[in-house]
């Protein structure tokens, strides 16, 4: 086989691996992130820039990031696959609920996957009404492609999934002592070294959910995020929750989840929640398929 043929073969193979990306580059608009297959066997590469998170990052959406990754019961799957019970006892790795946490959990009726999934029309998930997801729900539910913008005073994260954005102040300010709660809370960040950025968030509204499976949180929730840039094209994302009202001990939501850098001209497609479209969906699909409770 000639060298030219070998080169052509390798090029064709690479094109196949990254075909969604190439298609996106051709089109320039509404680019679809690569599938997981594009990253199989791919190692992080290139020297990481210092103190810089700028860029368009993707978690590889086909991972189906839909819940607290450290807890296998929340990974995508059908109702009951995990074998747990309605109060989440019996699942592979139950969260450390306090009695108040367990009571709050029972009030939330998720339509997302897990042992407590209800018919879509019966959910009280804020997302089911197109209410703001807030933080950290915007990241624990289908953490999709984000655009990170850095200014001298802020790191801004833009997530076209449900139209979310958040501002992380890096000007040295401290978190507020007694904040009025808000959907995204109050975030401050700092660099612990040239490649590691840590964010502390407090003051989040208790009516938002922790994740798509209806895990609760209180206004005492503290979220610590760590973004560790390990190469030019890869950083690791870890997120720890501390909420003594709802949980007896802190726990990790993600642990070194790899984020992949996409080309700078990647146009993230929008995926917004429209109340009128959602109402039509409920009218056309969710209400008609509501199960007879006696036959569930």
């Amino acid at each position: 086989m000639s060298k030219r043929l070998v080169v052509s073969f390798v090029a064709a193979l690479a094109a196949g691996m990254f075909s969604p990306l190439l298609r996106a580059q051709d089109a320039k608009w509404n680019n679809i992130p690569p599938t997981r297959a594009a990253y199989v066997g791919k190692t992080p590469s290139g020297p990481a820039p210092t103190r810089d998170l700028t860029g368009i990052w993707d978690t590889v959406q086909t991972l189906g990031v839909s819940g607290v990754l450290e807890h296998p019961a929340l990974l995508p799957g059908g109702r009951g696959q995990e074998g747990g019970r309605e109060d989440e006892t019996g699942i592979a790795k139950p969260l450390p609920y306090t009695p108040a946490g367990l009571e709050a959990l029972k009030k939330n009726k998720p339509s997302g996957p897990g042992v407590r999934q209800v018919d879509s029309v019966l959910t009280n998930d804020p997302a089911g009404k197109c209410d703001p997801l807030g933080f950290p729900y915007m990241f624990t539910w289908e953490f999709r492609t984000i655009n990170v913008v850095q200014t001298p005073r802020q790191v801004i994260m833009l997530s076209p999934f449900y139209g979310n954005y958040r501002v992380i102040w890096t000007d040295g300010r401290k978190p507020p002592d007694d904040p009025d709660p808000r959907y995204n809370g109050y975030s401050v960040g700092h660099w612990v070294d040239d490649y590691t950025f840590v964010v502390e968030t407090t003051g989040m509204l208790a009516k938002t959910w922790l994740d798509h499976a209806g895990r609760p949180h209180s206004e005492q929730l503290q979220v610590e995020e760590t973004y560790h840039r390990i190469a030019a094209d890869t950083m690791e994302f870890s997120m720890k929750f501390t909420d003594p009202v709802m949980y007896t001990e802190p726990f990790m939501a993600t642990n070194k989840l790899p984020l992949h850098l996409l080309p700078p001209d990647f146009d993230i497609p929008e995926l917004l929640c429209s109340p009128s479209e959602f109402a039509e969906y409920n009218n056309q699909v969710a209400s008609p398929v509501l199960r007879d409770s006696s036959k569930k």
């Binding site: 969604p20 509404n30 679809i32 992130p33 599938t35 959406q61 086909t62 189906g64 839909s66 819940g67 990974l75 995508p76 799957g77 059908g78 109702r79 339509s111 997302g112 996957p113 999934q117 209800v118 018919d119 879509s120 959910t123 998930d125 997302a127 089911g128 539910w141 289908e142 798509h212 497609p269 929008e270 995926l271 917004l272 929640c273 429209s274 479209e277 959602f278 039509e280 969906y281 056309q284 699909v285 969710a286 008609p288 398929v289 509501l290 199960r291 007879d292 036959k295």
Partner: protein, 125 residues
């Protein structure tokens, strides 16, 4: 019920689903693991969130027309599979493999083979 699944469509097989790609918020209402083929005429194609919808008129054994409402994923996911706003148009003759609703209403999830006007539509993964 007038439009039982076995009348307006025929079951082509049952297979075990792999782990879904996404957290589907309505999955509890559908019979995952079961596939039904709906054959009929497209009446409407709705490119919207949270799910793209394809409405299909299919006749039952008595000749009565039953309107099926079939959902796909959201537009972004469907675009990744090669769908566009023009994939279907009213009047198209289709044969679609779907996951049916547990309550046997004419509603389903498009999850398998698709034939549009005699041509199989190859979905990208």
């Amino acid at each position: 019920m007038a439009h039982k699944l076995g009348i307006v469509a025929f079951m082509v097989g049952v297979f075990a689903f792999s782990v879904p790609l996404f957290a589907h918020h309505g999955a509890a209402s559908f019979e995952s693991g079961k596939t039904v083929t709906v054959k009929g005429t497209v009446t409407e194609y709705v490119w919207s969130n949270p799910h793209v919808l394809v409405k299909v008129d299919a006749k039952d054994d008595s000749g009565n027309v039953v309107r099926w409402v079939l959902e796909a994923w959201n537009p972004v996911t469907q675009a990744g599979r090669g769908w566009t706003k023009n994939t279907f148009k009213p009047g198209d003759e289709v044969s679609l493999d779907i996951t049916p609703a547990k309550n046997e209403k004419p509603v389903g999830e498009i999850r398998g083979r698709m034939v549009i006007n005699g041509q199989e539509f190859k979905q990208q993964q």
